[in-house]
C-alpha cells in the first residue's frame, strides 16, 4: 500500500460519514416540520412550511410561528446540546457510559433552579434561573471529576455519579419539603418531570445563548478528544493541556445542560444514547462523533416530543418521563454489554 491508497481508503470513510450527516440533517428537518404540524390543529408539512414563511391563514401563522415554533426550536437545541454533552463527556473520560444524566448534572441543575424558585428569588422567566442551574451543574460535574480522580474507571465514575444525582435529588426534595407554598411545589414537581409544553420565545431567549455558548466550547475541543484516545499522559505529551481541557468541558456541559434544564426541566438519557447510535455508522473517533451525536440528540428529543403528543392518554405524558422510560432499559443493555469491563474494574 502506498500513500495514495491510504488516502483513498480514508476518502471512502469520509464520504460515508458525509452521507450519514446528510441523512441526519434531513431527518431533523422532517421531524421539526412534523413537530410544528402536530397539536390540537393538525397541519401538513407543506402547510407548515407555507405558514412558516408568511403564507397560509393568519390562524395557521399564529399556530406555527408563535405557539409551536418555540417548542420545536427548544426541542432541537436541547436535544442537540444533550447529545453533544454526552459525546464530549465520553470523549473526555474515554468511557462509553459517561453522560450528563448519569453524572447528576441535570439533577443538580434542577436543584439550582428549584432553589431559586422556592426562595422566591426569581420567577420562572428570569435569567436567574438558568444562571443558578448552570452554577449547580458546574459544581456537580466538577465535584464528580474531582472525586473520581484522573484515569478513573467505569465503576468509580458511575458510583460517584449515582451519589451526586442522589444528593441533588434529595436536596431538591428537601427544598420542596420545606416550601410553604403548595402552588410553587406543584409547579416545581411538574417542571421536574421535564417538558417542552407551552414554551414561548421568552424561554428560547432564556436558554439559547447558554446552549450555543456551551456547544461552541465543547465543539472546539474535538481534536483534543482524539488525542486523549491515547490516555491523558500521552495526550499531554502531544501538547494537550489536559487540566484546561477538563475545565473547558465541564464549563461547556454546565452551560449547555444548565441552560437546557432551566427551561425544560430534566430530560435524561439522550446524552447517553445518541453517541451509541452513531458509533456503528460513524466509527469510534470521539472528534467525529460530536456533530452526529448532536444531530441524533435533536432528532431523538423531537421524536419523543412528537410521541408524547400522539400517544393517547388521559393526561399529558411528559417528554422527560418518556426519554427516561426508553433510556434506562438502553442503559441496562449497555451495562450488560460492558459488564466485563465493569467487573474487572478497568475502563
Amino acid at each position: 500500500m502506498n500513500a495514495q491508497n491510504v488516502t483513498v481508503t480514508a476518502d471512502v470513510t469520509a464520504r460515508r460519514r458525509a452521507s450519514v450527516m446528510g441523512a441526519l440533517v434531513v431527518l431533523v428537518v422532517l421531524l421539526a416540520l412534523v413537530s410544528l404540524g402536530i397539536g390540537p390543529v393538525r397541519l401538513s408539512p407543506l402547510t407548515v412550511i407555507d405558514a412558516l414563511f408568511g403564507g397560509g391563514s393568519d390562524v395557521q401563522q399564529v399556530i406555527v410561528r408563535e405557539i409551536r415554533l418555540p417548542r420545536t426550536i427548544l426541542g432541537c437545541a436541547i436535544g442537540a446540546i444533550l447529545g453533544l454533552s454526552g459525546a464530549a463527556l465520553q470523549g473526555l473520560l474515554r468511557n462509553p457510559l459517561a453522560s450528563p444524566s448519569l453524572f447528576g448534572a441535570p439533577q443538580s441543575a434542577a436543584f439550582g433552579a428549584v432553589l431559586v424558585i422556592a426562595l422566591g428569588l426569581a420567577d420562572v422567566r428570569s435569567y436567574a434561573l438558568p444562571v443558578a442551574a448552570i452554577l449547580a451543574a458546574f459544581v456537580s460535574v466538577f465535584a464528580l471529576l474531582a472525586i473520581a480522580g484522573r484515569n478513573a474507571g467505569l465503576l468509580i465514575l458511575i458510583l460517584a455519579g449515582l451519589a451526586i444525582s442522589s444528593l441533588a435529588g434529595a436536596a431538591t426534595a428537601l427544598v420542596m419539603n420545606l416550601s410553604s407554598n403548595p402552588f410553587v411545589v406543584l409547579e416545581i414537581a411538574f417542571w421536574l418531570l421535564g417538558s417542552l409544553e407551552d414554551r414561548s420565545f421568552r424561554h428560547v431567549v432564556l436558554a439559547l445563548p447558554f446552549i450555543v455558548a456551551g456547544a461552541i466550547i465543547l465543539f472546539q475541543q474535538r481534536n483534543a478528544f482524539r488525542a486523549l484516545s491515547l490516555g491523558e499522559e500521552t495526550a499531554q505529551s502531544l501538547g494537550v493541556d489536559v487540566d484546561r481541557l477538563r475545565l473547558l468541558v465541564i464549563t461547556g456541559v454546565a452551560l449547555g445542560v444548565g441552560g437546557a434544564v432551566a427551561v425544560s426541566g430534566t430530560i435524561g438519557f439522550i446524552g447517553l444514547v445518541a453517541p451509541h447510535l452513531m458509533r456503528p455508522l460513524i466509527g469510534h473517533d470521539p472528534a467525529r462523533l460530536l456533530v452526529p451525536s448532536a444531530l441524533t440528540g435533536a432528532a431523538l428529543l423531537l421524536a419523543a416530543d412528537i410521541a408524547v403528543r400522539i400517544i393517547p392518554s388521559t393526561s399529558d405524558i411528559k417528554v422527560g418521563v418518556l426519554t427516561s422510560i426508553i433510556g434506562v432499559p438502553f442503559f441496562l443493555y449497555l451495562i450488560m454489554r460492558e459488564r466485563r469491563a465493569l467487573g474487572g474494574g478497568v475502563a
Binding site: 500500500m1 483534543a224 502531544l238 501538547g239
Partner: protein, 260 residues
C-alpha cells in the same frame, strides 16, 4: 560530550504526594545515543522520564537543545519529545493510520483527515520505518500485541522529535518483537535521535544501549557504557543479583543469574 549535549538535567528532583521520588539527578545526554534507564521497581524510572518530558512538575533545571524546558510552551515541548507511555493504551478502536497521525498533533495537524502534504509524508515515513503500512486501515483493537506496539512506535516516530522517551516499550512482547522494537529504536538513534528507553531487561539494555543509567531509590547511582554501569558491584548493590557476563558477536551479554 557536553559540546553535543542535547538533553541535560541539573539537580533534578521530583516530589509526588509529599514523597521525594527523585533526588538531585544530574545528567547530560548526547544526540544520536540510545540510553537505557534501568533500576529496580519503584526506583523512579518512569518519573524521571515524565520529568524530562515536562509531564510532572520538578525542581532543578532541564535543558533541551539549549532551551530551558520550563520556558517552552506546551506545543513546543511536544515537538521536542516523542513520548511512548507504558502499555500502548488506545481507548477507542481507531484505525492505525489515525493513531500514527496523532504524532503530528504537536505540529498543528490536529485532524488526521486534513493533513498537509508534509504531515502526510511524515506519517507515511513513520509507518514504513515501523512496518505498519500493511494494516494502516485496521482498527488497533484488532491487532496483535506485537503489531500494536509497532503502531505505537510509528506514532512516536511521526513526531520526528529530536528526543524519544520510551517507557518499557518491550514489556509483554515476545522475544522476536522485543528485538524488533529495540532495533527500530537503535536505528532512530543511529539517524541522530536521542533515544531513552526504560527497561527491566538488562540483557536488551546491555546489547543495544550506548549508555546505561542505573537508578536506585530516586538517585542516579551509576552511568556509563553497559559493562561499567552494570558492574558486578552495581548488580549486587542495586539489583541484589549476580549475573552471567560474556561477549557475543562483539556485543555485551548480561544475563541475570542468581539472587544475592
Amino acid at each position: 560530550m557536553t559540546a553535543t549535549a542535547l538533553l541535560t538535567a541539573q539537580g533534578l528532583g521530583v516530589t509526588l504526594a509529599g514523597r521525594a521520588v527523585l533526588n538531585d539527578i544530574s545528567l547530560s545526554l548526547a544526540t544520536g545515543h540510545l540510553v537505557a534507564l534501568v533500576g529496580p521497581n519503584g526506583a523512579g524510572k518512569t518519573t524521571l522520564l515524565r520529568a524530562l518530558a515536562g509531564l510532572v512538575p520538578s525542581d532543578g533545571a532541564i535543558h533541551v537543545g539549549g532551551d530551558a524546558l520550563s520556558s517552552l510552551p506546551l506545543r513546543e515541548r511536544a515537538r521536542r519529545f516523542g513520548y511512548l507511555a507504558q502499555g500502548h493504551i488506545v481507548h477507542w478502536p481507531l484505525p492505525a493510520r489515525d493513531i500514527v497521525a496523532l504524532g503530528r498533533y504537536p505540529h498543528g495537524a490536529t485532524d488526521p483527515s486534513r493533513l498537509t502534504p508534509r504531515d502526510s509524508e511524515a506519517v507515511l515515513r513513520a509507518m514504513q520505518v515501523a512496518d505498519v503500512v500493511a494494516f494502516s486501515e485496521r482498527r488497533v483493537t484488532e491487532l496483535s500485541g506485537g503489531e500494536r506496539s509497532r503502531v505505537a512506535l510509528a506514532r512516536v516516530f511521526a513526531v520526528e522529535a529530536p528526543v524519544i522517551l520510551a517507557d518499557e516499550p518491550t514489556s509483554s512482547l515476545d522475544p522476536r518483537h522485543q528485538i524488533d522494537v529495540m532495533k527500530s529504536l537503535r536505528a532512530a538513534a543511529d539517524k541522530g535521535t536521542l533515544v531513552i528507553v526504560v527497561t527491566h531487561d538488562l540483557g536488551l539494555a546491555a546489547r543495544f544501549a550506548d549508555r546505561v543509567l542505573v537508578l536506585s531509590d530516586g538517585r542516579l547511582v551509576s552511568h556509563g557504557a553497559a559493562a561499567e554501569a552494570l558492574s558486578e558491584q552495581v548488580m549486587a548493590d542495586v539489583f541484589r543479583i549476580s549475573a552471567y557476563r560474556a561477549e557475543y558477536q562483539r556485543e555485551a551479554v548480561i544475563v541475570p543469574w542468581a539472587e544475592i
